[in-house]
């Protein structure tokens, strides 16, 4: 058994792992990456990307429905979800191949198999033929991500009760679907299956849907969802499921009492659990915070030479947060000057529902809880020319500005393509721009981005178009 020595090894080739490996290689470190399944992790294979492909279909369905506004009368619309799934899988495959190419280009050694730390600086990789290889490196980054959390009363059987994975490869459009959990994943599937034609019920144990979002945003989306026909039950929990005549009978505890519904499928989307078990971490004395690996501001664990990034090291479980941590962790190891720890108020969040939700920084409630004196700005897409012209006048931009310093504490957006707009505020926050400096920016007309400008101006009591 030959030991292979590297400068740095990454376990897991998701958006945290492969980014970290590439950065390490760029900085001149001899780098290896280990992946048990497909390159790109959940993000590329079963998350961000394939769901966006499906949502592309849902968006088109909505366009077709409202085509007559633009003069099109479209009859006899045929929809085959198998083709949509096929498109989704093709995109994933294409991107996965791309990652392989990037790793190769950067001279990163890829090991296919399951990794287990066997000592400090040392791990073994077991491939699918159960061949074991020993690798060592002074720096080992754990980037193993997370998997869907399951409830005992909602066991994923892959047939009736789905996780996100089954929801992405279904061969038929379910007539009815119950989505349990209204975070980003649950809400996106609820919205897209509704738009494709399913009868959707969305439940959450929290008092609002999208529990981490600003109240105003959540309330607005809930109204939009209900208007288009999604049934929403908040403060509700699934009690029991049973399969009856090829359907799932669900008992739901609601504030009004037990409600029983019969659906074709249930999608469990209650959250994610870190993949921190079975890696040999406990044996080496690595400390955990619940099931997440405990790290310092440089993603270092308490055990020398072991680092953790992305979902496995704690939330928010977002690909871009993992990638960012990967870069800062590797650059810190490599001695790059000017590396900063992660500032959690600068992580944007995007939910690709219809309408979309995008946010960064504090919610109004959080800002108030922290005792900041705030000014709130708000501007509706209803007052934006481009939104009206495109027949997407839904949503608003809400800004939370520090009363005295003009700091952009938080921004919350609902509407068409707001996920493409939020980066403007990410840049502004990273550059520590104030309301004053954003007021000076020239936003192009006619675009949706004008609402960003107006929402800032609104917080300064000087919005023009409202």
């Amino acid at each position: 058994m030959q030991e292979t020595r590297f400068d740095l090894i990454v376990i897991g080739a998701g958006p945290g792992g492969y980014v970290g490996a590439i950065r390490a290689a760029q900085l001149g470190l001899k780098t290896a990456i280990i992946e048990a399944k497909d390159l790109g992790g959940i993000c590329l294979n079963w998350g961000c990307i394939p769901t966006k492909a499906m949502i592309g279909g849902a968006k088109l369905a909505q366009k077709i429905q409202h085509a007559s506004i633009f003069g099109f009368e479209i009859d006899n619309v045929q929809f085959d979800i198998k083709k949509l799934v096929q498109h989704s899988r093709t995109v994933s495959k294409q991107l996965v191949a791309g990652i392989g190419h990037l790793l190769q280009k950067n001279n990163i050694t890829l090991f296919k198999g399951t990794a287990k730390l066997i000592a400090k600086e040392k791990l073994e990789v077991m491939d699918d033929k159960e061949q074991i290889q020993i690798l060592s490196a002074p720096h080992i980054i754990v980037a193993t991500g997370a998997k869907a959390t399951t409830l005992p009363q909602l066991p994923i059987d892959g047939q009736y009760i789905w996780s996100y994975k089954e929801a992405l490869i279904t061969e038929h459009l379910p007539e009815s679907l119950l989505v349990v959990g209204s975070g980003a994943i649950g809400s996106e599937f609820a919205s897209l299956y509704h738009d494709l034609g399913s009868q959707v019920t969305l439940i959450d144990i929290a008092p609002q849907i999208m529990p981490t979002e600003d109240h105003e945003v959540a309330a607005y989306v809930q109204k939009q969802f209900e208007q288009k026909g999604i049934t929403i039950l908040t403060q509700s929990a699934i009690q029991k499921t049973s399969i009856i005549d090829g359907k799932v009978q669900c008992e739901i505890q609601t504030p009004q009492g037990i409600q029983t519904i019969l659906v074709n499928h249930v999608l469990s989307a209650i959250g994610v659990t870190p993949n921190s078990k079975g890696l040999g971490l406990e044996e080496l004395g690595v400390e955990f915070d619940k099931k997440f690996i405990k790290t310092d501001e440089w993603c270092k664990t308490n055990v020398v030479g072991i680092y953790a990034i992305g979902d496995v090291a704690g939330g928010p479980c977002l690909a871009h947060k993992a990638s960012h941590e990967a870069i800062l962790c590797v650059e810190k190891i490599a001695g790059v000057h000017g590396v900063h720890p992660l500032d959690r108020t600068r992580i944007p969040g995007c939910i690709f529902t219809n309408p979309q939700v995008a946010s960064i920084g504090l919610t109004q409630q959080q800002a108030t809880e922290k005792g900041y004196p705030v000014r709130i700005g708000n501007f509706p897409f209803q007052a934006n020319g481009k939104a009206l012209a495109m027949n997407d006048p839904v949503g608003f931009v809400k800004t939370i500005i520090h009363q005295d310093t003009g700091e952009i504490l938080g921004v919350h957006m609902v509407g068409h393509d707001v996920t493409e707009l939020i980066q403007g505020f990410s840049i502004a926050k990273t550059l520590e721009a104030t309301d004053e400096s954003l007021a000076e920016v020239i936003f192009p007309h006619p675009t949706l981005s004008e609402t960003m400008h107006e929402a800032i101006l609104s917080a300064m009591q000087r919005a023009i178009h409202i």
Binding site: G28, P138, G305, I333, G335
Partner: protein, 514 residues
């Protein structure tokens, strides 16, 4: 006057402070095209060709081959052939008097083997001026002012660009301002310029009171507290502009991009040219690959060639039993999650202890002053292989550090050595050196001394060997150590004493932990 241009040491990257002129590829008198490679300049990181920023003719080389000059220092003077040698000399003189000291010689690296330049900048210009122009007019002497004949002839309506005071004085003393090089913005001629030119040409021009400041004052004050946008700060740093010298026209009194640019273009009236890459002819295919030696490769080649040929090396070899070391290591590593000590780390600690016990080995040879520098603490250089060579980061005061500290320091130094992020003080100096090829299975080797250090220790692999203990053959984990010593400063017995001490520490590690 205005058609004299200078070539300067460029700034390649933020950390570049100075450059070494390794090779001029053109000679004095050659004309060149913008973009043509004219000389090779080496920094601590790279060797690169300087591309001509303009078309011109090289008249004087100021930065000779081998000289090390600061960024921005003038390395050559260019002007087309219509400009007389005399004017070039005057120009060069005005440069050196501006600086107040000779800019190029002080840093020239040793060995003055450069051929004497045909026209040294210090050649008196008065003599050449006589060759140039016949002395038809007498020098004008007026209140201690003496204007050499070839500078005489004030002309009212030429396109003068000079300070009002300079024009007045030129008129008064009949000076031809066309012949004076202006050092001000847009080469405006000041009184000071006239004075320099007159004196340079052998005349007299007494100091005049109330004369304007020599050059626009440049602030040297700390500008870190000056409010500026991130972009403005970065540009100022790149262009070596002090933010104190900039207006602050941005919001909330911040210096912004425009303000820094204003200062830059004030100092650089001709917009700085971009350097287009010269097109290389396609080389013919050969059955080998010519790998150009980069800066580091060349340094290794030069230094080790010198070390191996100049230093009288002798070698001492000893075998040490590392079973106690291994046991201790396993014990520490299994008990403390925050550390992972390697055998190399333990050797570092043992060597540090031995260096303190036998300080005669903890030395540098000061050739120049013929003395041996014996150090109080053990600064151990550790050879680390990196993709295109090697570098020797130093574990400083290893004798005073805890094992865990040595281990953490070494891990960080080795990683940063590979990413090229070590600062010079982290790899320059050191009182002793170690090189470990054990991880490649090398049993024993002799290393070349890294001068001015007096010795280097080569560590081989840990291997189980049959050894005799109490007349019984037994299996022990052993390491062979070879020390190369500079016999000029370390004698055989001293080296042997050190190795014996080291063996003692390695085989009884409690001694260095205590």
């Amino acid at each position: 006057m205005s058609n004299i241009q200078t070539l300067e040491v460029p700034k390649w990257g933020l950390s570049m402070q100075e450059g070494k002129i390794t090779q001029w590829t053109i000679k004095e008198g050659d004309s060149f095209k913008k973009g043509q490679e004219i000389c090779v300049i080496e920094t601590t990181k790279i060797a690169n060709s300087l591309e001509a920023p303009f078309d011109g003719t090289l008249r004087r080389i100021i930065g000779k081959n081998g000289s090390v000059l600061e960024v921005g220092a003038i390395i050559g003077v260019c002007a087309d052939t219509s400009v007389s040698d005399q004017k070039i000399e005057q120009f060069i003189q005005s440069l050196s008097s501006n600086k107040g000291s000779e800019p190029q010689e002080q840093k020239t690296e040793a060995k003055a083997t450069e051929p004497q330049q045909t026209k040294s900048p210090s050649t008196p210009t008065v003599t050449t001026s006589k060759l140039d122009t016949p002395t038809s007019t007498k020098p004008i002497v007026n209140d201690n002012f003496l204007i050499p004949s070839d500078l005489q002839g004030y002309q009212e309506n030429s396109n003068l660009f000079a300070t009002p005071h300079a024009i007045n004085m030129a008129q008064k003393h009949n000076v031809n301002l066309d012949k004076i090089h202006g050092s001000g913005p847009q080469q405006r001629v000041s009184i000071n310029d006239i004075q320099k030119a007159v004196i340079a040409a052998g005349g007299q021009w007494p100091d005049v009171k109330n004369q304007p400041a020599k050059t626009p004052a440049k602030s040297t004050a700390d500008d870190s507290h000056i409010l500026a946008t991130p972009l403005a700060r970065r540009m100022a740093e790149e262009w070596n502009i002090n933010l104190n010298d900039c207006r602050a026209s941005g919001s909330r009194g911040r210096v912004c991009k425009e303000d820094v640019e204003a200062v830059y273009y004030r100092n650089h009236p001709v917009s700085s040219p971009s350097l287009p890459a010269a097109t290389q002819p396609e080389p013919t295919k050969l059955d080998f690959t010519a790998i150009p030696m980069d800066g580091m490769r060349k340094t290794i080649a030069e230094r080790l060639q010198a070390a191996k040929s100049e230093i009288p090396h002798f070698y001492l070899t000893i075998d040490v039993d590392v079973s106690a070391l291994q046991e201790l290591r396993t014990d520490i590593n299994s008990k403390l999650p925050s550390v992972k000590i390697s055998i190399n780390d333990m050797f570092l600690k043992a060597i540090a202890s031995a260096l303190i016990a036998v300080p005669e080995v903890n030395v540098q040879y000061d050739v120049e002053n013929q003395q041996i520098l014996q150090f109080d603490q053990a600064d151990i250089s550790v050879a680390v292989a990196i993709p295109n060579g090697l570098i020797t980061p130093i574990v400083k005061a290893a004798n005073k550090r805890a094992l865990s500290d040595i281990s953490t320091t070494m891990r960080d130094l080795a990683t940063r050595a590979k990413t090229g992020k070590l600062s010079p003080d982290e790899f320059q100096g050191g009182s002793f050196c170690i090189s470990n090829l054990g991880m490649f299975g090398i049993k024993q080797f002799e290393a070349i001394i890294n001068p001015p250090q007096g010795a280097i220790l080569a560590l081989g692999t840990v291997e189980k060997r049959a050894v005799v203990r109490d007349d019984v053959i037994t299996i022990r984990p052993m390491v062979t150590l070879s020390m190369s010593c500079d016999h000029r400063v370390i004698d055989g017995a001293t080296g042997a004493k050190f190795l014996a001490s080291l063996k003692e520490f390695v085989e009884n590690p409690m001694a260095f932990l205590a």
